[in-house]
Amino acid sequence: MTQIPVQQLGRTLQIEILRHNPRDPDSVPHLQTFEVEEADAMTLFIALNEIRETQDPSLQFDFVCRAGICGSCGMIINGRPGLACRTLTHQLPQRITLAPLPAFELIGDLSVNTGKWMRGMSERLETWVHRQDLEQSDLDSLEAPMEPQLAEQLYELERCIECGCCIAACGTAQMREDFVGAVGLNQITRFRLDPRDERSDAQFYELVGDETGVFGCMTLLGCEDMCPKDLPLATQIAFLRRRMVMAG
């Protein structure tokens, strides 16, 4: 019979959080430890809300869907980037250290401005279908057919939730602010694969054919290892690099 995961041992979790409020001139980054009684099927979403509601109402963090699909709650969990909402505490040791994702602007405590970064990336790489007649699309007639396998391949790349874990796990992104990262390069491969997008390889080369793009990747594979959606990022980057070498 199926069972809901239940943590039988009554642990007291020690949750150590890297705190800093840049809006407060007196704030200095520091670690603060909170104690939380572990509950059955407890996630970091539940634990952090409990801390905020009962211990420190000023604690900042971001959750939206709390179901692992919106990408809001990326943070460093015991040294590794991941989605806090779907991390069950019983899979972690009793002492848990949480820090904000690096490489993004800090809003406060565990909250970082991934939205601003991702919007900037989208604008720079023009992550949308480029087509002459988009505004005049004939909406009455049958849609253009697409091979079923191609649609599934596109979705495979489109499952990215822009959580920022790949950026936090990327050596290049730590060294150069303007690197578009696996999230950006994956989107380029997605639109390159899409026959609805009329851009040529030469045009894609203009967007990612340098060190801030596909040639900045050092193949450390942190992005793929840390991707919560298990996207084949390293393969996509390697493929794109070959194409861009040919286009360049």
Partner: protein, 659 residues
Amino acid sequence: MHTIYTDVLVIGGGLAGQRAAIGARRRGQEVIVLSLVPAKRSHSAAAQGGMQASLGNCLGGAGDNEDIHFADTVRGSDWGADQEVVRMFAHTAPKAIRELAAWGVPWNRVERGEREITVDGKKQTIREADAAHGLITSRNFGGTQKWRACYVSDGTGHAMLYTMSNQAIAAGIPVHERMEALALIHADGRCHGAIVRNLMSGELVAYVARATCIATGGFGRIYRVSTNAVINEGMGAAIALETGVAALGNMEAIQFHPTGIFPAGILVTEGCRGDGGLLLDGAEHRFMPDYEPEKKELASRDVVSRRMEEHIAAGHGAKTRFGEHLWLDIRLLGAAHIDTKLREVKEICQYFLGVDPVRELIPVRPAQHYSMGGVRTDHHGHSPQLRGLFAVGEAACWDMHGFNRLGGNSVAETVVAGMIVGEAIADFCESPEGALTLSTALVEDFGRREARHLATISDGHGDENAFDLIRRMQETMTAKVGIFRHAERLEEAVSSLQDLQRRSRNISLRSSAAGANPELVAAYRLQRMLKLAQCVAYGALQRTESRGAHYRADFPRRDDANWMRRTLAVWPDAKATLPNLGYEPLDIMRMEIPPGWRGYGARDYIENPQTALRQEQIEAVLATLEGADPETRQAALMPFKHLLPEHLRGPNQRLGEQS
């Protein structure tokens, strides 16, 4: 006060808001979108299973058209919907999906030849036509006669939202992220924008606009157990209510989704059952055919959720330390299907339950899911009471869902309504009525009022805790204003909520953190959520019938004689603890489909004498039109195309038809 001027202010960055924004932008209007979170993190992304549009490409959808989609939606609504709006919707849905296909959504496609499907617990082999190969396919969903839910695996909302957001970026539409509208600026029945709080700095900013559009989604977080994202607190509907002028429609109409995972309440898609999954009880018996022989697991959500709770109450639930639940069984669909078409479901089960749905059962129980009610609008998404205020998507009561929404009709509504309302907003801005005529003193007044209100909360020395009161509100709603409602419990809920409203004015904050201060945010949202909760509870208490998702155990029949009426709630007195309720009639004599049996659920309802009259009238009209084409016959009964923007009036081509 820092003031930003724009033509159009869209509050909410989900599918509906962004589509309306794109529409207005294309017409040359300057548009700014405000969003609590980065737009791509909006709750639209959580829609999993599909978008209803009657393309009819795959075998299960063959023969589908707008007429059947219309009829399914009206029956789903339990005759609570505005049928003209449903017609506008069903007609535009195929256009919306084709637009999104052109914009980049990787809709799953029909594959020619034989494939195996699961129907009613058994495997069948079907053959898809060669001619349909590569066209958009669809899956089965509850309460529909055809396979009509077009999908992208089970990440449909995610794929739609990313495409929509990317197109909005391409159109150069700014999204001001982490911004929360606190109040609508209005005077003399005209809305002029909003006072907005920056959720990073805490600063107040005025956005002055010719047209303001609420697109903030639902308000599921007034309940303890909800599939909704934590941002779904209904702040858009609440600030419309707080104008004291704009009305909210049918707030008591709350949908409970049959398959929230237990106990977390996270959604697993209706597509699980659409694709052939079954509901089992504690003894692993498939119980739905016992209650609903016609549609079984695929009756509408209100009916299935009620049957599930009824079955649990009869002692057939699976018992755990968290309480009782039922099982969703998708094992029979097989690993290949689950790994490609239900992969988000699989991930959710693995991460939150430690369950592999290929081999194991999924614990489920109904959870609050959707708000049919919202800001009442006309056919064009415009508030009849407050000019210049528009609403679109789940935040609106446009009213295509009535008292129960069909699965897959919500994401469809977002984009369809966005296409229609975006045009209406542009029309308004171009009209003399749309001119910007307010005084800056009015903006300053509203700004000062909001700053004072925040200061009152921050400086409060009461003994109440905001987080504690939110929990009490949520528990009250889940325990007393849930699936089965009763006068006694509703009266208790209304009185508890009144008490909580009084207590919410007596909060003291423990934190004075610089910036947005999450505790302050909780405190001011609580006061607004309590008003919405009271509209739901009080509206439910007054509605002495059962219709769609609103089920009164003490009034178990749908009462067409007395309740062919839409509830309208207004809140003119800020100090009051109850809304003023009014009602507007649903005119049977103008309906294309007069009230009847839905084809599932209860057969017993109280008839309105007008139903028979209208039925006779319809038969008489159709008798004069024998041999006429379906469009002429439809137009003779209930014309609607004049309500659509001109470019959306054309006929929808289907497979095998000439364009």
